[in-house]
């Protein structure tokens, strides 16, 4: 059953698509300006609850801003940061990993030592340290997350390349006179794409959670830009009085990470030759 086999990919992909549409078309979809404060209407519950106002679907926050609009706009930061980090960390990690794996000796020594240094610290701790040093901002956030994520790609790609370069097809191309970089780019690296795609999807989920954690700690993007993490953080002290301030951003993070993990899981099922043979 082809459709069942790809079910995870379909569901995960659908969730991600909805999020991307939300993020890209946020100004068209969101009912209000996410930053417009109406202090008189602060801490209104969702419209279906008692005291809810029909104009605020998911209620308002502690400054009287529309929760739904903020969640829709919040998806922008989550996805942008997630995607950018995955792309940049992927590029850096894959190239260093490929070079280290293929050329070995000094290149491998240097890259491995550097990546070991990064691996020695807990991932969130590096991100916190870098953010404290660089200060708030979307660019800095992506930078911090990238610096703490590239190692994963580097390690996996290096390992793959190490085994690939001993394979017969590589020896064959070498025998035909292929230059090192040509072989690396055209024959070795493309063969690592399957694993990289899988790490990238899982990595994106981790990055989104980390972004939320950093924003929660007040180290993410500036206060006026809505993000799910900072919404959680601001809503925390009102958890008795206005639980919707934490429930909805929490749900948004949950659904997003769930969708991306599902997609990653599905992709792994498809790409992993071991799993493929079992079917």
């Amino acid at each position: 059953m082809l459709s069942l086999r790809y079910l995870k990919i379909y569901v995960g992909g659908a969730i991600l698509t909805v999020l991307v549409v939300c993020g890209v078309a946020a100004p068209l979809i969101a009912p209000r300006d996410p930053q417009a404060q109406t202090l008189e209407d602060r801490l209104r519950p969702p419209r279906w609850a008692e005291n809810g106002l029909p104009s605020y679907w998911l209620g308002t926050d502690n400054l009287g801003r529309d929760m739904l609009s903020r969640i829709i706009y919040g998806s922008r930061i989550s996805l942008m940061v997630g995607a950018a980090t995955v792309i940049f960390a992927g590029l850096v990690g894959c190239s260093l990993g490929a070079i280290a794996g293929y050329f070995g000796s000094t290149a491998d020594e240097v890259v491995s030592k550097i990546s070991e240094i990064f691996l020695a610290f807990p991932f969130l701790l590096i991100a916190i340290a870098i953010m404290a040093f660089l200060g708030q901002g979307v660019g800095n956030l992506i930078m911090a997350l990238m610096l703490s994520r590239w190692v994963q790609y580097c390690r996996v790609v290096r390992g793959e390349v190490l085994s690939l370069k001993e394979r017969d097809f590589v020896t064959a191309i070498k025998a035909l006179g292929g230059k090192s970089f040509y072989i690396l780019l055209h024959h070795v690296v493309p063969n690592t794409f399957a694993s990289v795609t899988v790490i990238a999807t899982f990595g994106m989920a981790i990055v989104i959670i980390t972004e939320a954690s950093l924003s929660f700690l007040g180290l993410g993007v500036p206060a006026h830009i809505p993000t799910w993490g900072s919404m959680l953080s601001e809503g925390r002290s009102y958890i008795n009085r206005a639980p919707w301030l934490t429930i909805f951003p929490g749900l948004a993070i949950f659904i997003t990470v769930f969708g991306i993990n599902l997609l990653g899981d599905g992709l792994r099922d498809v790409f992993d030759p071991k799993l493929r043979r079992q079917r």
Binding site: G135, G218, P222, H224
Partner: protein, 513 residues
């Protein structure tokens, strides 16, 4: 067979479990009655309690409150009279560079010896001993000599005339010289004072216990035993009060106030605090060098709306350059009314026809709800024609030479704590060269500040401070915002008078039958 031997079958087990469950569920109810403030003892949970047995190893208001149970100052500030009142001193005179104190007669230390003028220089020497751990030495940096012509007279000679000396002397608690001679280095472990309570025990992070001094010179206190305990977590303090473990707590979070006001056993007391919040303006930066822009900022920010909406109305917008309870406050002054239109007009006059770009700095988590406050301020200022970029910084970066104290921040949200006298704020923020926090310089204002610091007569000093206040309200090198409330929770049968200085005094307390 083994099961039989255990002596409990399933039914018994279920019955006992049920009994245990009921017991556990009702236990807090029982505790609640058992621990409600008894006639003899009061248990106080505070966010800060002495961190050391050394009574001079801090300079923090709540901790002054702890130690004042045992050791006492010469003078203290009376918030109702808005003037200094004698404690161990009966009267005083300010003459040129001399402060002459007449001491109270018949005051006994806890060991029965009499308090005399000889104890004063002994104590001041201990307070000046920074190597010995004192953090209060700076209060006597202007004192050149201390003379004791007789047993009940002390004369402080200062390098220059120093009208605000009482402010420096307010929290300097007197030790016994006889005890010093007897215990030497161990004086703090055997602390003896003249206070309404005697020291019993202290454990760091645990309890600090005092028992009543029945021979107290001002009449014995109503409550026999006092226990202070440091509990920094808001939720834990609150839970202790609600469960009856504590009779009194400080710093009740404002969003819990409405709920606790309905509590059958708990009373909430609030009082205007001494920490004043404002937006400081550094006039060394453009566009803040322009007075019209500074006034526009004052018209654009609606502090009463912030208090109403962010702090649930539990706060006190400043009417003028300082809060109403501060020495030197001027009841005739009014804050700039909220008027975004007027702000826009002023900006246009200043040449900013298409809005004015500014950055607002703050350090999140330092003050209550600072993140929310700054977002609201930014939104309000946008309506008044500014374009605001919010920048948050780590406290160390924000406060140090890279930030506020290096004069690097153009516009920032700040709170000045323990502000009892307007002089403290004016001298620190607006006097030429005293700090780089605003870089404001106005010879006329400097002259007034200098003059009031030399003026012994309180009325005249207040007039001078009010004069300074008027200049500041016109020049506005800042946007005065509000003082927040100090919120206390107490069991209902505990009576006490709220004070704005974060001090909790058990001898001001009474327990109703």
């Amino acid at each position: 067979m083994a099961r039989k031997k255990s002596g409990m079958n399933r039914r018994e087990f279920l019955q006992r479990s049920a009994a245990l469950a009921v017991g556990t569920a009702t236990w807090p109810q029982l505790l609640r009655h058992a621990h409600a403030a008894s006639r003899d003892r009061v248990t106080i949970y505070q966010t800060s309690v002495a961190d050391s047995i050394h009574p001079f190893n801090h300079s923090s208001n709540p901790i002054y409150g702890n130690w004042q149970h045992v050791i006492e100052p010469l003078v203290e500030y009376d918030f109702r009279r808005k003037d200094y009142a004698g404690v161990l001193a009966e009267s005083w005179q300010f003459q040129g560079n001399k402060w002459i104190f007449k001491l109270r007669k018949g005051v006994k230390f806890h060991d029965g010896t009499t308090f005399t003028s000889k104890d004063v220089p002994f104590t001041i020497e201990k307070i000046r001993d920074e190597k010995g751990g004192s953090l209060q030495a700076f209060n006597f940096k202007e004192v050149a000599d201390i003379q004791t012509p007789d047993d009940y007279t002390v004369i402080f000679v200062t390098k220059q005339p120093l009208a605000i000396f009482l402010d420096r002397l307010e929290n300097r608690f007197m030790l016994s010289r006889a005890a010093g001679e007897k215990y030497g280095d161990k004086i703090y472990e055997n602390i003896i004072g003249t206070g309404p309570y005697k020291f019993v025990s202290y454990q760091r992070g645990g309890n600090m216990v005092f028992t009543r001094n029945d021979d107290y010179w001002a009449g014995k206190a109503a409550i026999k035993e006092v226990i202070f305990k440091k509990v920094t977590e808001d939720a834990a303090r609150l839970a202790a009060l609600e469960s009856g473990q504590a009779d009194f707590i400080n710093n009740v979070p404002d969003h819990e106030v409405a709920r606790l006001r309905k509590h059958p056993r708990i009373r909430i007391d609030q009082v205007e605090g001494l920490r004043m919040f404002f937006l400081a303006i550094n006039v060394a930066f453009k566009p803040w060098d322009n007075k019209l822009v500074r006034q526009a900022a004052n018209y654009a920010v609606d502090a009463p709306a912030i208090v109403r909406n962010i702090f649930d109305g539990i706060g006190y917008p400043c009417n003028g350059p300082v809060g109403a309870n501060v020495i030197g406050a001027d009841p005739k002054l009014k804050r700039y009314p909220y008027n975004p239109q007027k702000a826009k007009e002023l900006l246009a006059q200043a040449g900013f026809l298409n809005g004015c770009d500014i950055q607002l700095y703050y350090s999140p988590g330092r003050y209550p709800k600072d993140r929310e406050v700054c977002q609201v301020v930014a939104a309000q200022m946008v309506k008044g024609g500014f374009r605001v970029e919010l920048i948050s910084q780590e406290w160390a970066l924000f406060w140090d030479k890279q930030g506020v104290n290096g004069g690097r921040l153009p516009f920032y949200y700040i709170g000045r704590g323990g502000l009892m006298d307007a002089d403290t704020l004016y001298d620190q923020y607006f006097r030429t060269g005293s700090t780089k926090r605003t870089n404001y310089s106005n010879p006329e204002l400097d002259k007034i500040i200098e003059e009031q610091q030399k003026t012994p007569d309180m009325k005249k000093r207040v007039q001078l401070l009010q004069q300074a206040g008027k200049i500041l309200m016109d020049e506005v090198p800042f946007v005065p915002l509000y003082n927040l409330a100090d919120i206390y929770g107490a069991v209902k049968n505990l009576e006490w008078r709220t004070r704005p200085d974060e001090r909790v005094k058990a001898w001001d307390m009474k327990i109703k039958a």
